[in-house]
Amino acid sequence: MTELRFEDLDVDGAFGEAVAELHGTSRAQLLRGAVVGSGALLGLLSLPSIAAAQTPSTDQAIMNYALLLEELQSAFYTDVDRNKVLTGALKEQATTVATHERAHVTALRKALGSKAIKRPHFDFGSAVEGPTAFRRTAVAFEDLAVEAYKGQAPKVKSRAVLASLLAIHSVEARHAAWIRRLAGKLPAASAFDDPRSAKSTLKLVADTKFVMTTKSTGSSPRFTG
């Protein structure tokens, strides 16, 4: 197993910025001694210094975390749309949701101003090259987004920011129900949706390997629902 450094994986620094901000530490601290294996950022996130650090503490950190997830979704739908591999109801879903996710990105960037993380780069591989893989990945992403927003909402200090994030949160749930129906799953599988911590969410995101890397580990995206 070739060991990769975090810097090699996170070429544009966006991931590091978001993770560092969430955990109340600096990107430089993250990079020092951060050696990760084929598990990509998983290793990084489980480093004791990170695990011991606090979870998202400021509204700005939470908004940057939301921005990272929206950038991911926005790029995903935009890529599949560009590839023109979808038809009918699935195409309508992807096109509509792409517009929403881009709007979320724009709104968050505007609110964060110069404090916004850099735009990351993604490579979704086969997940955006056909309807079946797209559908599975979209279900996973949308359900994850709902859990992620839900995990942060009680920590938001500004009521204005909270109102805005809640307005996005329920739209992500609509997206999730919509794509689940198109995937032949129950749109609302249970009476209660659970929250997910930032740490757990970022682990899942890292595990997809959709975040573009300079050195390929040779494996294809695994997170397809």
Binding site: A107, S164, D193
Partner: protein, 207 residues
């Protein structure tokens, strides 16, 4: 004949008749992004800072909405001759609303209000009106929860958060059954407690 019910619910605030149309509604004015706010925000309906007593008031409002929905779906399942997608929707969602009501009732304990009596009139009489009323109810519920979220203490918000996204899933589900966009806009509007209450009152569902 009973379409005035849907109109009454939708007039609860943000949900316009236009939003019913199958289209993507992201107008130039949808995203404002002024200052720290992410976009043009709904006014906070309760001016006081979050507190336990305010939580109880808001939870009782939510309990009324959940009981109303649970009763609506139960009656629709008995009365309207439903089949296929809509029958499944009513059965599954009805179960969720009962669970929500029980959850909130338990959270409130002795502070829980007495259950009201409902009269849904013709709104549970056939598949078409059931679907359209459900759509209005679900969209209104999402807007009402979103409106009250910032007024709750963090612990209660965490509990309510487990419900609101499921209501949004219901809304998307019934909208898709009706052939209208499940997610019509990039952000869900919020209505104030007063707007939501007025909308429900106008339906005459609560006796």
């Amino acid at each position: 004949m009973t379409d005035h019910i849907c109109v009454a619910l939708d007039e609860g605030g943000a949900i316009t008749r236009g939003a019913l149309m199958r289209r993507t509604a992201i107008g130039a004015g949808a995203l404002v992004g002024a200052g720290v706010a992410i976009w043009g925000l709904p006014e906070l309906s309760v001016s006081a800072e979050p507190s336990a007593s305010q939580d109880a008031k808001i939870l009782n409002f939510a309990l009324t909405v959940e009981r109303l929905q649970a009763a609506f779906y139960a009656e629709a399942a008995r009365r309207a001759k439903l089949s296929g997608d809509l029958a499944q929707y009513v059965q599954v969602v009805g179960g969720h609303e009962r669970e929500h009501a029980a959850f909130i009732e338990k959270a409130l304990g002795s502070k829980a209000a007495k259950a009201p009596t409902f009269d849904f009139g013709d709104s549970t009489s056939n598949a078409d009106i059931v679907a359209r009323t459900a759509r209005s109810l679900e969209d209104l519920t999402v807007s009402a929860y979103n409106g009250q979220g910032p007024n709750l203490t963090p612990a209660t918000l965490a509990a309510a958060g487990k419900i609101v996204s499921v209501e949004a899933r219901h809304a998307a589900w019934i909208r898709d059954i009706l052939g209208i966009l499940p997610a019509p806009e990039a952000s869900d509007k919020a209505v104030t407690a007063a707007q939501a209450t007025a909308a429900v009152q106008r339906t005459g569902f609560i006796k």
